[in-house]
Structure formats: structure tokens, C-alpha cells
């Protein structure tokens, strides 16, 4: 027997706006990332192309400048946020079992948070003193 779901039942389901917010964020951060990421790749290519052997120097050089520090931090933050939320979509889609879903998400978020901290520290610690010569 099927009992028609009542008007009241359905109304009670309504909740928050967070999915909408993430949806909008994915699009805006996406558009921003096009410039940031392509810029980043282009830059790395240009700057590292012929001087392969001194990648380390190049990178350190570049990242010693505060502008680049900021630029890369922005990429890092946006891309991770964007990517993590994207991965959340996948987790919610493919992991059917509710408790499993919870654990996978918890572990995944922690790992990413750790890596973010790691990366951010890396960015800030780099200084010209680290260059050889």
C-alpha cells in the first residue's frame, strides 16, 4: 500500500541554503581559477622552461616575492576548496551507506586540511636566504 505523501510532510523537509551557496561558489571560484591556474601553469612553463636544472632556484625566487606568495596562496585556497567540495559531490553520490559516507568525508577533509596547512607554511617560509650562491 502506498500512502500519498502529504503536503505537510514535504514542507517539513525544507532546510538550509548551503547547497545553493556551494553551487554558486563552484561557479565563481571556477571562473577565477581559469585565470589563476592557467596563469600559474603558463608562468611556471615560461620561467622554468630553459633552465630546468635550476628549478629550485626559480621556484624559490618566484615565491620569495610577496605578490606571488599571495597569488599562490589564493590558488591553493580556492582550488582546494573547490576541489574538496567537488570531491564531496562524488563521495555523496558513490558512497551509499550513511555511516561510511560520514567516515570517508571526515578522513578526507582532515587530510586536505593538513595538506593545506603544510602548503601554506611552505609558501610563507620560503625566503631569498634559501637561495644558494
Amino acid at each position: 500500500m502506498i500512502r500519498a505523501k502529504r503536503f505537510e510532510d514535504a514542507r517539513a523537509q525544507a532546510g538550509s541554503n548551503s547547497e545553493l551557496a556551494w553551487w554558486v561558489f563552484m561557479r565563481i571560484s571556477g571562473v577565477a581559477l581559469v585565470f589563476l591556474v592557467l596563469g600559474h601553469i603558463y608562468m611556471t612553463f615560461l620561467m622554468a622552461s630553459e633552465k630546468d636544472t635550476q628549478v629550485f632556484d626559480v621556484v624559490v625566487n618566484k615565491l620569495s616575492q610577496p605578490v606571488w606568495k599571495l597569488y599562490d596562496l589564493l590558488i591553493l585556497a580556492l582550488a582546494l576548496l573547490h576541489g574538496v567540495n567537488g570531491a564531496r559531490y562524488s563521495i555523496e553520490d558513490y558512497i551509499r551507506n550513511k555511516p561510511d559516507r560520514f567516515w570517508v568525508k571526515a578522513v578526507f577533509y582532515s587530510v586536505v586540511a593538513l595538506i593545506f596547512v603544510f602548503g601554506a607554511l611552505g609558501l610563507f617560509i620560503i625566503s631569498p636566504e634559501m637561495l644558494r650562491d
Binding site: R27, G30, V34, V37, F56, G86, A87, G119, G122, I125
Partner: protein, 118 residues
């Protein structure tokens, strides 16, 4: 396999490329952060990247980024303009064209290095 058309493949590729880029990004951040442990550690890992499988991998990541970026724009156009849905197929072919051209360009830059086997 469901015989979906452009939209289905656009979605599958978008999802795969998104997850792949995320994986790459995480790796990338970790490896760059090795700087924290000094040049020695950093370089040891980064020499690994000069090996050809990593070079090829880099081409794939570039292709993925190109696809994901431009298909992401396609999605945003469909979502916000109301007109995009009608031309989604054409948009997707555009995305594919950019991806392929961009990837070719990357190959042209990277291949010589692979061949020279630095």
C-alpha cells in the same frame, strides 16, 4: 554502457578530470612543501618528476585542466545565461577543440624534453 550523448560524456570527463586535478594538486602541494625540509629533499623528489612517466603525466594533467576549465565555463554559461542549454553540444565541441589544441601545444613543448630524456 548507456548510450548517452555529448552531455553524458561531458559530465563523466568533467568529474574524472576534476578528481584527477585534485589528486595532482594535493601531490603538488606536498611536494612543493618539501621545501620546508630543505633543498635536498625537494630536489630528490623533483628529479623524479623529470622521468618520462611524470612528463607524460604532466601532459595528461594539463589536458585535464584545460578540459575542466573550459567545460567549467560551459557549465557556468548554461547555468546562468538560459541560452546555453540550447547550444550545449556546440559549446562542448568548442571545449574539446581547445583541450586538444592546448594539449598538442603542451606536447610540442614537453615532448622534446622527454625524447632527450633529460
Amino acid at each position: 554502457m548507456y548510450r548517452g550523448r555529448e552531455g553524458q560524456w561531458a559530465f563523466v570527463l568533467h568529474r574524472l578530470s576534476g578528481l584527477a586535478i585534485l589528486a595532482y594538486l594535493l601531490l603538488h602541494v606536498v611536494s612543493i612543501s618539501l621545501i620546508l625540509f630543505g633543498e635536498e629533499a625537494y630536489n630528490r623528489l623533483h628529479h623524479l618528476y623529470d622521468l618520462w612517466p611524470f612528463r607524460i603525466g604532466l601532459i595528461l594533467v594539463t589536458a585535464g585542466v584545460l578540459y575542466h576549465a573550459f567545460n567549467g565555463l560551459r557549465i557556468a554559461i548554461m547555468d546562468f545565461t538560459g541560452k546555453g542549454v540550447a547550444i550545449q553540444r556546440q559549446l562542448w565541441y568548442g571545449v574539446m577543440a581547445i583541450t586538444i589544441l592546448g594539449t598538442l601545444a603542451t606536447i610540442i613543448v614537453v615532448m622534446p624534453r622527454v625524447v632527450q630524456g633529460v
